[in-house]
């Protein structure tokens, strides 16, 4: 077992301790236990028990989200966003929805994905405009993607990743979206992707995420590592929830089903997305079990995949 201390700007330190996971652990179904416990004799490990959780994830789709080809229709997107916010919060208006999540005095960091299948600018703009309409002063809304100083400067964070597979982490959507907040992104590549949930528990990040809102307008279902347009498709959706792991689990299901549909046979993500079950089993950030997630589907249902 490796053990290494890594210093993060700001004084936070994390233990780099990871046991080796092999293919056999997946076949046996003992990955979560192996990763969570780090015990040496993992051959005899069994699935861990944890209290039952429940989460709700909202999926809104509109087949008219794209005006032509890959050009987003901003007016349709605005309606989708309003619907999503009201459903996610149970509020009756977009304004009250935001105000149930954030305070008027908050400095709000919007955290989009800048690389690979980047978050659509139209969605970033729509979220910012919606916040302003809710009464948040524009100067208090900032793009918070970047190093640890970005979340430190914010009271509230809106995670705004785009749905995509990733060649080093299996899936690279919700949990990976905060990788730069660690101050040491490369420490979470390869086998260390299992520890991505750790970033969400760092003092300058923990408890600040008010909403996870995934751009599923045009997801990328193969890992890349660079974009291949054959694996992009117009799903025309937005996905949201307050449980980052549940949202990630729904995203993972969509990607997995799309890959299966493309090949006509199972086409598992490789490497497997260790970070999702770890975020649940070890870091307790939410539930990764679809049986514990209520998915509320709104709008276009063709090829919904989940």
């Amino acid at each position: 077992m490796h053990l290494q201390r890594i210093s993060i700007p700001g004084g936070f330190q994390m233990n780099k301790t990871y046991p080796v996971v092999t293919r056999r652990d997946f076949v046996r179904g003992t990955v979560a236990t192996v990763l969570s416990s780090g015990i040496a004799d993992k051959l005899h490990a069994r699935g861990s028990a944890r209290p039952t959780r429940s989460s709700t994830v909202i999926l809104v789709r509109d087949e008219k989200a794209f005006a032509t080809g890959t050009k987003v229709d901003a007016s349709v997107l605005k309606q989708m966003l309003a619907e999503l916010l009201m459903r996610a919060t149970g509020q009756k208006s977009e304004r009250t929805a935001w105000l149930s999540l954030v305070q008027l005095s908050d400095v709000i960091g919007v955290v989009p994905t800048p690389h690979l299948n980047a978050t659509h600018k139209e969605l970033i703009d729509a979220v910012k405009a919606s916040l302003v309409n809710a009464g948040i002063p524009a100067p208090q809304i900032r793009n918070a993607q970047g190093g640890p100083d970005q979340p430190r400067a914010c009271n509230s964070l809106i995670a705004l990743p785009a749905l995509k597979a990733h060649w080093l982490t299996g899936i690279g959507t919700v949990l990976k979206n905060y990788i730069t907040f660690s101050g040491s992104p490369s420490s979470y590549h390869d086998a260390d992707n299992a520890k991505l949930g750790e970033i969400w528990k760092m003092p300058h990040v923990q408890g600040k995420t008010r909403l996870v809102l995934v751009d599923a307008l045009r997801p990328l279902c193969d890992k890349g590592p660079q974009p291949d347009p054959r694996y992009l498709w117009n799903y025309s959706g937005l996905i949201a929830g307050t449980d980052p792991v549940a949202v990630e689990a729904v995203c993972l299901k969509i990607i997995t089903e799309k890959r299966k549909a493309l090949r006509g046979e199972p086409w598992p993500l490789s490497p497997p997305p260790l970070c999702v079950s770890m975020a649940d089993e070890k870091y307790g950030l939410g539930t990764s079990r679809l049986s514990e997630i209520k998915i509320e589907r709104v709008g276009w249902m063709q090829d919904v995949l989940v």
Binding site: R23, L43, H115, N117, L168, P229
Partner: protein
């Protein structure tokens, strides 16, 4: 514009790079000519005749990383293709700046023997950009490995001697594949990606014209010689060559067949490895395929060490102590997902996974051994 990586980054720009290149080239006696030879490529009227630029990609800086001749680091790109005009200066990405350009995707190229990347952007008034990436690699095998990441797409014939067929034998792998606006090319030690952000008929024509310009004057090369050690069929099992991948890094291996979070097979730039799957020719039940991994190390001791490492982590219950540090040269085990077999011969290590029974695993080992002893396998 969907793909924003690489834009406005602090990566070395051509203007600075070229100064360094010219300085180094002057010191080593290289000269650069901007008077490029005529191109034979491109659809009539699509490629502009003017100012074909011979890219100064061959300075000693990268030539030192390869034994290849200077001519293998040259390509001619048109300055105009259809409605698109090429930027005069490429973005130059080195192993030091590759993560700035493409984030963690850089691990893929560093997993092969990467020398340098030149990125050219073609712009048109009413069309989205076409990005041309030229990855200069240390050998043809490395460029082949990058194309072998995905054999999907429509095979393209970019030169008269390139093959357009889908692979059926090791000599018939395509050199270029196109799909949805992206053209990927293996041309000797060059791997290229030419991508139109928005695919339409003009952009497709332009992408293919750029591809032909890249391939023009560059002779085709053969797939890695290591592939000749693979059996094409074993009893009723047939190799699916569209799942074959050549690699040197465990990150690349894990991206198509997850074995372990640790580098169990001691893969490294000096190691050659190939993986492929075999399935039953007429299997209506679509039973899981058999996965074969083959690695060639720098020597028998390295191969033996890799085998011992694999045994210790992957099969910890199959013997302790001496049995793990000095495993037998050949063995078979039944584990959770079927029969696993391996054969270590000289500096070769072959492993076969997910065999349905003992007999099948034995047959794969026998077929590999027979191939090695038949003299068909080059040990270069």
């Amino acid at each position: 514009m969907q793909f924003r990586y690489g834009q406005s980054l602090g990566t070395l720009r051509y203007t600075y790079a070229s100064s360094l290149v010219f300085l180094v080239a002057s010191l080593f006696g290289f000269g650069f000519s901007l008077d490029a030879p005529e191109t034979k490529s491109g659809k009539a009227g699509l490629v502009g005749e003017q100012h074909l630029l011979e890219l100064p990609s061959t300075p000693q800086l990268i030539k030192n990383m390869s034994d290849l001749p200077e001519s293998d680091f040259k390509v001619n790109l048109p300055s105009k293709v259809g409605d698109w005009d090429r930027d005069d200066h490429p973005l130059v990405v080195t192993d030091k700046s590759i993560f700035d350009y493409m984030d963690g995707a850089g691990e893929l190229y560093l997993g092969y023997r990467f020398c340098r990347l030149d990125v050219y952007t073609y712009k048109a008034k009413d069309q989205d950009e076409i990005v041309t990436e030229l990855y200069w690699m240390g050998s043809s095998d490395d460029a082949f490995g990058l194309l072998s990441q995905d054999w999907g797409g429509e095979p393209q014939s970019l030169t008269s001697d390139s093959l357009k067929k889908r692979p059926s034998t090791i000599d018939e792998f395509p050199h270029a594949l196109y799909g949805a606006g992206l053209l990927r090319i293996w041309s000797r030690n060059l791997y290229a990606r030419v991508m139109a952000t928005q695919e339409n008929i003009p952009s497709r024509d332009a992408v293919l014209a750029i591809g032909k310009a890249i391939a023009a004057g560059r002779t085709a090369s053969s797939p890695p010689k290591l592939l000749s050690a693979l059996p094409t069929s074993v009893r009723l099992w047939t190799q699916r060559s569209n799942r074959l991948c050549f690699f040197r890094s465990h990150l690349v291996l894990n991206s198509f067949y997850f074995l372990s979070t640790e580098n169990l097979l001691d893969l490294a730039p000096q190691v050659e490895a190939v993986s492929t799957v075999f399935d039953l020719a007429s299997d209506k039940d679509r039973r899981p395929a058999v996965r074969l991994l083959l690695a060639r190390y720098s020597g028998p001791e390295e191969a033996q060490r890799a085998l011992a490492h694999f045994m210790k982590i992957y099969l910890p219950e199959k013997g302790k102590g001496l049995a793990q540090s000095s495993p037998k040269n050949s063995d078979l085990f039944q584990i959770e997902d079927g029969w696993l077999g391996y054969q270590r011969t000289d500096r070769y290590l072959m492993l076969v996974f997910e065999c349905p029974d003992h007999t099948t695993a034995t047959s794969f080992i026998d077929a590999f051994t027979e191939n090695l002893h038949s003299g068909r396998v080059s040990d270069e």
